[in-house]
Symmetry: C2
Subunit: 139 residues, 2 copies
């Protein structure tokens, strides 16, 4: 039976026009965009693309670590190109949506230690700080 394929096949991830458009779109946006918003912007720009595809690609990009995912208040999920710099958290303005990346060496350690302390394995964590950015706070 099996010749060289052995057990698992490589997850190839093809380079398609749509996938490229989505990454370009996110790049141009520069910040968070919901799947629906991104879809609208791409269409407006003339890139023919289906909503289902936007969801699919965005989800995969998230799995691949190419984009960040945050759950917005209205139940929507928003995505943003992640600067390939691995793990970090967000400081978001609850008024205008401005988001700043922050890293917290201490938090990482605390989260890991807390999990271990309670016997939890494969710990992961999310941290979101919200507040009013300088501009919004000043008004």
């Amino acid at each position: 039976m099996s010749t060289a394929k052995s057990e698992k096949s490589a997850p190839v991830t093809r380079q398609t026009r749509q996938r490229a458009a989505i990454v370009r779109g996110l790049s141009a946006a520069g910040g968070f965009r919901s799947a629906q918003a991104l879809h609208g912007e791409l269409r407006a720009r003339g890139d023919g693309i289906g909503l289902a595809t936007v969801y699919r690609v965005l989800q995969r990009l998230a799995e691949e670590g190419v984009v960040d995912r945050v759950r917005a208040a209205g139940g929507e999920t928003a995505y943003r190109l992640c600067g390939a710099d691995g793990h970090h958290h967000h400081l978001t303005c609850r008024m205008c949506g401005l988001a700043v990346d922050v890293t917290g060496s201490g938090v990482e350690a605390w989260a890991a230690a807390t999990a271990r302390e309670h016997g939890f394995a494969e710990a992961d964590h999310t941290v979101e700080i919200t507040g009013l950015c300088p501009r919004c706070a000043g008004r």
Copy 2:
């Protein structure tokens, strides 16, 4: 015209059978429950109550600080009676849903400092640690 009412009316929050049932239900549950799940449990128990009411009451309880809110993976929102002990975070098992309260003096400070550092005001934060609880990890 206006006599003694002056400007703002007191936010009365009436004590209703339904509201009581919801709090009792959450109390009996002991952990997180989605609005839908709670509604199902209450109905099964014989407490006649509408889904819309469950959502409404749960939302208000959250505003009042009586319950915790976490956004589950499937886009659902889950609620849990909060022991009136103010601020804390959660360590959740991503397999069985077991949730443990944890407090992190260090995290609080870090979050506040980070926000201040970037000029953000009125900072708030959420921290969720997920992993596999001892039992699930052991299987």
